[in-house]
């Protein structure tokens, strides 16, 4: 199994994530209280909403670039793995922060049951792909 198997699926997943990030960035610019502390938690609230939005744009962008150059550069799986690790870190931080907040259930539920399992699955696929490339020394 290589990353190419899930390439279109990963591509769509990352583009959805980027659109969500763009929408959140627009919301953060237009509404000062777009990121409510009672939903996202104090730890997440202490970081700018714009920074969160940029994080959810930059990390999938790295993955998309890795998917785009897949097969033509040895480091392409590394880009995807780093991108997914960044996304995983963002979601884990957000979930941990929302866990302690009164209205954070929606974040914990969406992040924990939908996004994190998908990211872990793609991460596993890409780690296996990197391992296969290292074994075969193929590009």
């Amino acid at each position: 199994m290589t990353a190419m198997v899930d390439r279109a699926e990963q591509w769509r997943f990352c583009f959805r994530m980027i659109w969500c990030g763009v929408a959140f960035l627009i919301a953060a610019k237009l509404m000062p209280d777009a990121m409510a502390p009672n939903v996202y938690g104090q730890a997440a609230y202490d970081i700018d909403a714009e920074t969160w939005a940029l994080g959810f744009i930059a990390a999938p962008l790295l993955v998309i670039y890795g998917i785009h150059i897949n097969g033509r550069a040895l480091f392409s799986p590394a880009l995807r793995i780093i991108g997914y690790l960044c996304l995983l870190g963002l979601f884990v931080y957000l979930i941990c922060s929302a866990w302690h907040s009164p209205d954070g259930f929606i974040i914990v539920a969406f992040g924990g049951f939908f996004f994190v399992p998908s990211i872990l699955r793609y991460l596993r696929v890409n780690i296996m792909d990197a391992a296969a490339r290292i074994r075969n020394d193929t590009r």
Partner: protein, 151 residues
């Protein structure tokens, strides 16, 4: 790298720079300069100046601005009651808050509270931290709800 086109080779540093800038923003939140917590405006009687409590810690000096927007509940929604202009100030670690701390000082608008009819209010305060570079520009937003009670 020789298998990549010129555009693709140019794109990689751009994306890596973007990721590094975002990582730096996460690593250096606004709390490195300004820490605001437990902002509360206490309910007050009509005509009196609402008192406030909050913890402000200026960790290191910076140039900053703040803006306060106060909205009043009308029906199911909120209508802007008064909004201060964006005020620019240098923030210094040895600055202290006045005692007692009241809304007129915070909004820098002595007419705002005088025009406050009885009702439920929502205050949003936004600080913008400008520590000398656009890379470090940060925003801190805090809100509080309070009521002006008629006797």
């Amino acid at each position: 790298m020789r298998n990549l086109t010129r555009d693709e080779m140019f794109g990689l540093p751009v994306i890596i720079c973007l990721v590094l800038i975002v990582a730096m923003r996460f690593a250096m939140p606004a709390g490195l300069w300004l820490d605001i917590s437990d902002l509360a405006v206490h309910d007050t009687a009509h005509g009196a100046i609402p008192e406030m409590t909050w913890d402000r810690n200026i960790v290191r000096p910076f140039d900053g601005s703040w803006q306060v927007v106060i909205r009043i509940r009308q029906g199911d929604g909120w209508v802007t009651h008064c909004s201060t202009p964006t005020n620019f100030r240098p923030y210094l670690p040895d600055s202290a808050l006045p005692v007692p701390l009241r809304l007129d000082w915070f909004t820098d608008d002595y007419e705002c509270y005088e025009r406050m009819p009885c009702g439920e209010y929502d205050m949003t305060a936004t600080w913008r931290v400008w520590p000398g570079s656009m890379l470090f520009e940060r925003t801190v937003t805090r809100g509080a709800k309070f009521s002006v009670v008629c006797p």
